[in-house]
Symmetry: C2
Subunit: 350 residues, 2 copies
């Protein structure tokens, strides 16, 4: 069955133009139906002269901007495109929701509209990092700044199942981000997570240090949302900085310019290889519905990747898988989850 | 007065050869006296044919290796070069201790031999990050995987005073690493630190995100030892990865090779600019003595930088400054420190 993707065309730095362009790419290249959620007039302007039965506009009169307060704006603007799009998923009219809008608001609205998968204490934001020939799923990259060990154990289970399906692996290697490879290294909480993962049915390969994060030593790397967010933003900043320095070097002399010209197309490939925003956005695992949150600066190509990631997740039955995993997580962990982990409060600023 | 630096010649991947080479560079270029701490025969072999009254060998028969357990080895090997070197500082025979050895052992031995500055709950490991034209002191980069807000507030005060002296600034800008610029962003603990710094006498410029870390927006960036350690190892890993990719690009075709040849010397400069190991190692702030811990892979040039950093710290009276700061930290913070913060236990694996 063709996957039906609800797409927020009002979210992101380049909305709606690049978002709709990404939708057209997807409609042209993938077996998907697209529900473009946003202001009808802007949607129609973008679609002028285009006739494709697989693209439909779903009106949403309001917009949550990148600067709006996440939880407040979600409540104050029930008809914002993010809310309308998520209700399409809740009602079953869409199989997944894709947005490049305000990340905090998208997460808050997802929790509010879709709720959590039963047994999962907190959802996690997960991104696929390119690592040479393969990819590594890093989670959580920002859903939870405050956390408890049991939540990270659940993230590991969800991440393992997700990569099993999405990357087609029998037993994905799961690692825990820490500040030393030995099991005893890290904060007390991280050591607790390490021990729980050692005793789990997962293919746990131990701790991984951040310097090895991009080397493909594991298909899943688990961390807390504070550290994970610091990591992805640092990768982004380092990439910007290094290619900025490179540009300066190339500008120094005419010889350098010529040399830079020769190398440039290959260097751009290197940069793209390091750019996780090219790889389909972040998946919010643990909410009861499929949600893909793309980088705010996404262009048409990034939106295309995000839509494809959502389509793949639909076709691989990722949501059912997470539900199964949640039911299967060892009883002890489940008890822990129920006793220790606070249910997400709506007032919390995520 | 000439600074007397005790130098561990047995620590680091390239010991003793590169360490002694760094000492010779320092003896040749800086106004320092050097106490080379290590196995006399190896020291003498390195110094054969050299006669410099400013270099003296202090025998230490044992060595703590990079793989030894930090706290256990410090106790089991009282005559290891790290322990002997630190006792020279404790007794006043040396003004500072420099090592490229086992970081955990160096920190444990420093605490054990020198103790903490009165009023400081935990020491912090601080490194100067190159940021274009200036530098940013990042702390803690790994002394404490477990932490409390009050400790980070103390790190901010120590870091501010340190950069004031070392970079010659009237009011260094102090920032707090978090996952959003707004004061409310981050974990509960980080928000607590933010509020305490807002109410402090420091030139607190608010939260900083990791993507801006290398942009020189602040002279001091405070974070916990877990996050800080993840950050510096990720910077290291990214730098290795990117220049590795660059090397691959250059090898692709003869044209690329020629272009790479033209750019290479400038690119090496860029790499050095991003390499914090070039910038004098990490300073352990908060122990009652000056200790500089250099990267394990330090070569002669890096050791020279570390010795220079130690000499500058001696001449700027950094230790007295930290003592003053500890006495000046607002009473509330001091009470917090005494009540909340656990004294470092010797058994703790740091």
């Amino acid at each position: 069955m063709t996957a039906r993707i609800a797409l927020d065309i009002m979210g992101g730095d380049h909305a709606p133009h690049e978002i709709v362009a990404g939708a057209l790419m997807a409609a042209g290249g993938l077996d998907v139906e697209l529900l473009l959620v946003g202001r009808p007039r802007e949607a129609e302007a973008e679609l002028r002269g285009i006739d494709n039965k697989r693209i439909r506009i779903v009106p949403a009169d309001d917009v949550i901007s990148m600067d709006d307060h996440p939880t407040e704006s979600v409540r104050a603007k029930p008809n914002a495109s993010i809310n309308v799009g998520l209700r399409l998923v809740k009602s079953g009219e869409a199989d997944a929701f894709v947005t490049a809008g305000n990340t905090g608001a998208s997460m808050a609205a997802s929790l509010l509209t879709l709720g959590r998968v039963k047994g999962i204490a907190r959802p996690a934001l997960a991104i696929l990092f390119p690592t040479g020939d393969s990819a590594t799923l890093l989670l959580d990259v920002g859903a939870n700044a405050d956390w408890r060990p049991i939540q990270l154990v659940q993230f590991a289970h969800m991440g393992s199942s997700y990569t099993q399906k999405m990357l087609g692996l029998a037993a994905p290697r799961v690692a825990l981000l820490s500040i030393g490879e030995e099991d005893s290294k890290g904060s007390q909480e991280v050591v607790e997570v390490n021990q729980a993962l050692r005793n789990s049915r997962l293919n746990f390969v131990g701790n991984i240090e951040s310097k090895d994060l991009l080397k493909g030593h594991a298909e899943v790397v688990v961390t807390d949302g504070f550290t994970g967010n610091v990591v992805i933003k640092l990768v982004e900043g380092m990439s910007d900085l290094m290619f900025g320095e490179l540009r300066k070097v190339v500008e120094l002399t005419p010889w350098n310019k010529a040399a830079g010209f020769i190398l440039m197309s290959e260097l751009r490939k290197v940069r793209r290889k390091l750019d996780y925003t090219e790889y389909g956005g972040a998946v919010l695992l643990g909410v009861d519905g499929l949600v893909v949150i793309s980088h705010g600066r996404s262009n048409a190509r990034a939106m295309f990747s995000a839509i494809r990631a959502a389509k793949d997740a639909v076709e691989h039955g990722v949501l059912d898988l997470v539900r199964e995993v949640a039911a299967e997580i060892p009883a002890k962990a489940r008890r822990g989850a129920t006793n220790d982990a606070p249910a997400p409060t709506d007032e919390e600023d995520i």
